[in-house]
Symmetry: C2
Subunit: 129 residues, 2 copies
DNA sequence: TTAGGTGCAAACAATTTGCCGTGTT
DNA sequence: AACACGGCAAATTGTTTGCACCTAA
């Protein structure tokens, strides 16, 4: 788990830090390639993942797509350990949020609110289920 | 755009409807396989996608992973047309939400709130950018 | 009859991993 | 010297698509 200083990691981190568009791994790769011609896409994935695990970066939207027959906007909880995706009661959120989007000229058709953390089962274990 | 009745589609829809775990395409496929041995995974993907477009199902979490160097929980907006991912000002949401999760024994470490809709640029066009 | 739907397999795309030489401590 | 790191390419996964046949309307 210990880790040492790495040039590539810092460059990857800064590439994200200096971006305004929430880049994908591929986008980070393309941006760094001119400066770091020997950089490999695998390294980008490895480091983005590591930085996200450390909390230096935030990863938006998880891996595989999941579906829900309840189509009205509601709230989910994703267990970071076992990957379970649970429903939460629909709790009204501050409508101020919708307004904030509208003021920026954005047409809001819906929203997704996902909590992340640990489910009771995983919280009581060393190893995830 | 017209569509006719399809047994598989209904079974796929019902499989999601009767699940409590927000299944992936693969999970739906595995569950239906015993009853529909000739079902193919491609059909499952095709129909889940179609049902989601129609609004009969909700698709959670978008396609490719995107990263953000702002790690405190904040709000995003995804344009459904061009895929742009924008930041919204951090607007406080009802703290009731955190409490609701805690009451279910869930350890909440963060949350992701993503609005969906159209960005100003795409809202003013026929064809997405 | 005539589109739309499906199975099957091939094609793609996104992400991960093994191997082995390199860099950091 | 020990062990983390990075390049490269192969391997996995997740998802889409072309094609020929099937089926609802």
């Amino acid at each position: 788990m210990s880790q040492r200083f790495s040039h590539q990691r810092e460059r990857i981190y800064r590439a994200v830090l200096e971006s305004r568009d929430h880049p994908t791994a591929e986008m980070v790769y393309q941006r760094l390639k001119p400066e770091l011609p020997r950089l490999s896409i695998g390294t980008v994935y490895r480091n983005l993942q590591l930085l996200a695990r450390e909390g230096r970066l935030l990863e938006l939207s998880g891996p595989t797509a999941r579906f829900d027959a309840v189509t009205r906007p509601h709230t989910h909880f994703r267990c970071g350990a076992c990957g379970a995706l649970l429903d939460l009661e629909t709790v009204p959120y501050d409508p101020e949020l919708d307004r904030a989007a509208a003021e920026r000229g954005l047409t809001v058709t819906g929203h997704t609110l996902v909590f992340t953390g640990l489910c009771p089962r995983c919280a009581g274990r060393q190893e995830p289920a």
